[in-house]
Symmetry: C2
Subunit: 187 residues, 2 copies
């Protein structure tokens, strides 16, 4: 759990009390590759922090598997829209590697928000940074070519290339596996 708490502290300073409250509300788990953290069609009641390992968020569009998000160690995984709106959503989250994760429930997080102004602030900042990340990806998708997007991923998250199957990276970038394979061949 240390990795998780350290990550939180780096976003916004927390008092000892708040940290303690956080760790009481969080449960740590070791799970195997392939484990489904969140199932499509249900309300996402947990947010997960990946202490070690790798996960991806995905859904099916016209029968095809689309990878929506990839979370490596040090980042969060959830069906964010469902978690916020409290509505079921089409997204699944699965582990791509055996992982150690920290899970905190919606109800517990709400309680922490209500009890600690400093945690509410932390939450606001976390969502804000999430928004910035998504906006960056959005911009790429908006007006960058397939190759530009792959290059950018190579630069920002090179480790993923070897850990995530090509097809998943392709749909993450919004292109087909074949196209990505060809782009790769050129470079």
């Amino acid at each position: 759990m240390k990795v998780f708490l350290d990550a939180l502290k780096q976003i916004s300073p927390l008092s000892e009390k708040a940290i303690e409250a956080f760790s009481e509300m969080t449960k740590e788990e070791e799970l195997s590759k392939g484990h489904l953290l969140i199932k499509a069609g249900t309300v996402c009641n947990y947010i997960y922090f990946i202490e070690a390992g790798l996960s991806r968020t995905f859904y099916y569009k016209d029968g095809k598997d689309v990878t929506d998000w990839i979370s490596a160690e040090g980042s969060f995984a959830a069906s964010v829209v469902s978690f916020i709106t409290r509505q079921p959503d089409i997204r699944n989250v699965e582990l791509l590697e055996p992982s150690r994760i920290c899970a905190i429930s919606y109800a517990n997080l709400e309680k922490l928000y209500a009890d600690y102004h400093e945690i509410e602030r932390l939450g606001r900042l976390l969502v804000s940074y999430g928004l910035v990340q998504l906006q960056n990806r959005f911009d790429d998708l908006h007006f960058a070519s397939a190759q530009e997007r792959y290059m950018k991923l190579m630069n920002t998250q090179p480790s993923l290339i070897n850990r995530v199957p090509l097809g998943m990276i392709a749909s993450y970038l919004g292109i087909t596996q074949e196209t990505l394979s060809r782009i790769r061949a050129k470079v």
Copy 2:
């Protein structure tokens, strides 16, 4: 300013004191069509609420004008990434119609966050809903056809069609003006 404060209250309840503090920190303005609220290359120091009117966020990619976001009355406008990260950004925000807006500065907002837990909460919720909106648009861009995207816009924000020039709607949807014109002709 009433429209603004009402919108806030609807997101999360606020005490009289908090509302008063908010209205003291906010300045209301009437501005004409074409006015540039935020200029590319600068740090975005204000967030704007459109009480009446219309704005768009845009930038230049390879010399071409790209509309990133459109904010009608009842919604917010800003260069969100710049506002959060405190870094300059390529986005401009301009008014497409004469508008009445409420502006609140970064510094004032920070002060409100620090002084009022309830406002920090409001901020967290606002960013959360922004994230959900962006995720929805992202999903469209990710794996929906040009026509699907246009249809969805027609259904969710039909009023924009007549208020925003075609070229701006096109780049907002991630397509060219010609393509949008053809899609329109078919329907």
